[in-house]
């Protein structure tokens, strides 16, 4: 994307007035999307954003600037702006010897979406619309969205790191509205992988659409969710967001360092039920949160965060690893070249256990079975977190019975981790997600086997 000599001169400009660390992050992102709504292909949309973000670190201060001008003059101006922002004092010249880092990409891409005719993308939308509408007369509205992106990045820093990545993601989302005596209900389903248009050789958009439509139809007969504290069983693949919120954010080292995490200072301690082994893994082929290198040029890694209930490690970025004198973990990510990197999750999952999923339900007298969770949010300081249930059922006498309307569940992260009393042997990855932190969104994945939390508060309205 840039030649080595230009990168070296830009880093030199960034460090000209002193500085402990400098980095150039170059990004060229193309995206396209197509939307069908209300029975009509409304619009296709294309976007191109290209530029560089440059940071300079002096002591505890990071200066940052970005530019869409990738000429050498543009880069130098941004480097000088970043250096000035870092308010560097001394002076000096530093030569940076770059070493190209060849991290393996988790998987190849067979069909680059940019090579696919737009008509073929539109055709997927029409098929999805037909399939959703034929799922039942009560389906009144369907929205289908196709999206792809190709994000090429280059990262170089004053430690000599030089790394590139080419990330291709393809996504298909259907949401349906069903209308009945009880009003309107919605159903949602998505497929997304870090691959190209071959996504549609593996997944049938009609099936995606039918699943969305059936969810909406099922909810027409749903009753209000209960209110109060009870056992909650989460289905395979449906509930990775539980760990994302319950402890994932709290294990990000930036929040830990600022004393804003309930997990600060607890390395080596039993923080969860012995059934819990939690992993964050950026190398998982094709998953939504995978990549070859993170946005600081560190190769993706598999990191065990909790082993048999014992807290083994946090997630790290380059600056915090440097300070602690330890290896990086591959968790430095950013939304775009206009943003500074932060400690972020990749694909976060609970390792499968020994229990038979049917037994987990059968041994639950009364509670809630959540087949699919929606988004969530956490207060990392108190550890309190919420997450939405988009498909849930009542458990009565050890059997899954009636469907429930939507609502949030609330719990306390450290307590919920201890309250996990069953983990199934049926692991599955969940839906592609976008993790938001400090105003930046990055793609993430998650997965869980069937599991049970002894006590969670279900935020419905029924007694």
């Amino acid at each position: 994307m840039l030649d080595d000599a230009t990168i070296q001169r830009t880093l030199a400009a960034a460090l000209r007035t002193g500085g402990d660390f400098a980095e150039v992050f170059v990004e060229d992102k193309r995206s396209s999307s197509a939307m069908l709504d209300d029975g009509r292909v409304e619009e296709l949309s294309s976007g191109r954003d290209r530029g560089a973000g440059i940071r300079v670190v002096v002591g505890e201060t990071t200066g940052f600037a970005h530019t869409a001008d990738l000429s050498e003059e543009g880069l130098r101006a941004a480097a000088e702006a970043a250096a000035a922002a870092a308010r560097s004092g001394g002076g000096g010249v530093r030569e940076v010897a770059l070493t190209r880092r060849d991290a393996p990409r988790p998987n190849g891409v067979e069909v680059l979406p940019e090579t696919v005719a737009k008509g073929a993308k539109v055709e997927l939308l029409r098929r999805a619309d037909d399939a959703a509408r034929s799922a039942g007369a009560a389906i009144r509205q369907v929205r289908a969205r196709y999206g792809d992106s190709r994000r090429r990045i280059l990262v170089a820093n004053s430690e000599g790191v030089l790394a590139e990545d080419d990330q291709v993601r393809t996504l298909f989302v259907v949401s349906a509205v069903a209308v009945g005596d009880t009003g309107m209900q919605t159903g949602y389903e998505s497929v997304g992988r870090t691959i190209g248009f071959e996504l549609f050789d593996r997944y049938d958009v009609e099936q995606v659409a039918r699943t969305a439509a059936e969810r909406a139809l099922t909810k027409l007969s749903a009753r209000p969710a209960p209110s109060g504290t009870m056992p909650v069983v989460i289905g395979p693949g449906g509930g990775g967001v539980l760990f994302h919120e319950a402890c994932g954010h709290g294990l990000e080292k930036d929040l830990v360092d600022k004393g804003a995490s309930a997990f600060a200072g607890r390395l080596g301690e039993q923080v969860a039920s012995p059934l819990v082994t939690l992993v964050d893994d950026g190398t998982m082929a094709e998953e939504w949160g995978c990549f070859a290198v993170d946005d600081e040029g560190t190769p993706a890694q598999r990191n065990v965060l909790i082993q048999d209930g014992v807290l083994t490690d946090y997630m790290w970025d380059v600056l915090r690893s440097r300070k602690a004198g330890r290896p990086v973990s591959g968790n430095g990510r950013r939304q775009s070249y206009q943003h500074l990197p932060m400690v972020r999750m990749t694909n976060t999952y609970l390792v499968a256990g020994q229990d038979d999923p049917d037994d987990i339900v059968a041994s639950t007298e009364r509670g809630v079975y959540v087949a699919s969770l929606g988004g969530g949010q956490v207060n990392t300081a108190s550890g309190d977190f919420v997450f939405g249930m988009t498909e849930a059922y009542l458990i009565e006498d050890g059997r899954i019975t009636e469907p429930l309307r939507e609502g949030n569940l609330i719990g306390n992260g450290p307590k919920v981790l201890r309250d996990i009393d069953a983990v199934g042997n049926d692991f599955a990855m969940g839906k592609p997600g976008t993790c938001g932190k400090d105003g930046q969104g990055v793609p993430v994945g998650d997965g869980v086997p069937t599991l049970r939390v002894r006590a969670l508060t279900v935020g419905g309205t029924a007694a």
């Binding site: 949309s45 954003d49 994302h244 600022k258 004393g259 943003h339 988004g375 309190d384 938001g436 935020g459």
Partner: protein
């Protein structure tokens, strides 16, 4: 926080990116419009922004960024088909590529009778005082000093404050232009600044956080003391909080909470959702949809609103739009397309998430008409209930189509008309249509917030609190 992919972007920074950000947005937009072919309508939307972001921690500057960016969005309509493309630069080659892409995209859409760009409607944009040229002259050192002052004020205010998770200063100068082949040619600009602190309070194993902020159009509007006071109070008052028992009760919502719920209600009154049958309010104009105490207005022409703007995202003049008057639904907000589809008057309510998004109908400045009683009097009128200071998980627990509402919450118990012990780890649930009907009182404390809705204390009966 996590949401499903494709379910709407997380909040982001403003604008796109470019070094060649010198040209005025109106000139750039004119140049793009000149690239239109005779047989098509073409609209250029250009945003240019210069931002300063300062984050301090432990008495030092942790991060400092100063950046300019510019982005261009191009909409092409031909034969009733619409296409869109964007680029984060004003580089002529990139802009030409975006125009060609938008044109090609239009060929793949499906025709719609209501498609088409707006034409000038003769309504003049209001003159709003949103641009303070003096802001550009404020030295960077003063901005850094203000952030450091805020951190000191928070940390030193109370021995139970254990630290500050983040303490940020941010300001921006943003200019927007919309020009089209149909004769629209408008621009708007604003300055703004914000101070935000996230504080941490601790007592033994108990760790709680809180936030405080101050915002304004000029540097002098920023009030360190007010931001620090809120940040300290919101964290400290949660120490020792416990989980309440489940019950159906009366809740008193903090203005901050009301504003967030109003944001969801405003979304349900957007033309696109109504046209497509996704709003529970569709077809109900003239009906009583809320308590008679509820009068809801969208008014971007009021400069006190954070979202105030003289023009909308299609270049129409904004206007005051009554949405609900004394509980009766009056109408919806419209973009050009939704107004045509519904045969309604345009309301100048097109909004965009940024240069890379197409315009849709949406509110940017809603507020409830305040009532007579101040918050203390409202609480005094509640014998047993819950004061809700904050909510979480609105994106995961509120469904604007079904109307189901369930959010995480924290606050205090109300006993005998007095705020009592702090509460946390509970949810409040109802449905949005029910919540609007169950409003018992609206406070007198209209509060301007950095959000698309202003806040006010709200008393709502018969809400389910789920706890222990």
């Amino acid at each position: 926080m996590r949401r499903p992919a494709g379910a709407g972007a997380a909040a982001g920074t403003r604008g796109g990116g470019s070094a060649a950000a010198d040209a005025a947005p109106l000139e750039v937009a004119d140049r793009v419009v000149a690239m239109a072919h005779d047989d098509e309508q073409l609209e250029a939307y250009v945003v240019r922004s210069t931002d300063t972001q300062v984050r301090v921690h432990g008495g030092e500057v942790e991060q400092l960024a100063v950046a300019s960016s510019v982005g261009v969005g191009v909409r092409v309509v031909r034969d009733g088909r619409q296409g869109f493309a964007s680029c984060g630069t004003v580089d002529p080659d990139a802009v030409a590529e975006a125009v060609a892409e938008a044109r090609d995209n239009a060929a793949h859409g499906e025709p719609d009778e209501a498609a088409g760009l707006p034409e000038p409607d003769g309504v003049e944009p209001p003159a709003l005082d949103l641009w303070h040229p003096g802001y550009a002259e404020v030295p960077l050192d003063d901005k850094v000093a203000l952030a450091l002052e805020l951190e000191r004020a928070v940390v030193g205010a109370d021995r139970r404050i254990t630290g500050v998770e983040s303490c940020d200063y941010e300001d921006w100068r943003t200019e927007v232009a919309v020009c089209s082949t149909t004769g629209v040619r408008r621009s708007a600009r604003e300055t703004g600044g914000e101070l935000v602190a996230w504080s941490l309070a601790g007592d033994g194993d108990d760790l709680q956080s809180g936030f405080g902020f101050s915002f304004g159009r000029s540097f002098d509007d920023l009030d360190v003391e007010a931001a620090a006071r809120d940040a300290v109070e919101r964290a400290v008052r949660m120490l020792g909080a416990t989980k309440p028992p489940s019950a159906r009760t009366t809740v008193v919502l903090d203005p901050w909470v009301t504003a967030q719920l109003l944001g969801v209600v405003a979304g349900m009154l957007a033309g696109d959702e109504v046209v497509k049958g996704r709003s529970p309010f569709a077809g109900r104009v003239g009906e009583e949809v809320a308590s008679p105490r509820v009068t809801l207005v969208e008014d971007p022409t009021d400069p006190r609103h954070w979202g105030a703007s003289p023009v909308d995202a299609e270049g129409r003049a904004t206007r005051r739009v009554p949405l609900v008057t004394a509980g009766v639904l009056e109408g919806f907000v419209h973009s050009t397309w939704t107004a045509r589809r519904m045969g309604a008057e345009p309301t100048g309510s097109a909004v965009r998430a940024g240069h890379a998004s197409t315009p849709v109908a949406g509110c940017r400045a809603v507020s409830l008409v305040p009532g007579d009683a101040d918050p203390a009097r409202l609480v005094a009128g509640v014998d047993d209930g819950v004061l809700v200071h904050d909510v979480s998980g609105l994106h995961s627990g509120v469904n604007p189509v079904s109307g189901d509402l369930s959010t995480g919450a924290e606050g205090r118990r109300i006993r005998g008309g007095e705020p009592a012990e702090p509460l946390r780890e509970f949810t409040i649930a109802s449905t949005l249509p029910r919540l609007l009907r169950d409003v018992v009182a609206v406070g007198s404390d209209l509060t301007w917030l950095p959000a698309g809705a202003a806040g006010v204390t709200l008393v709502v009966a018969d809400v389910t609190v789920s706890g222990a």
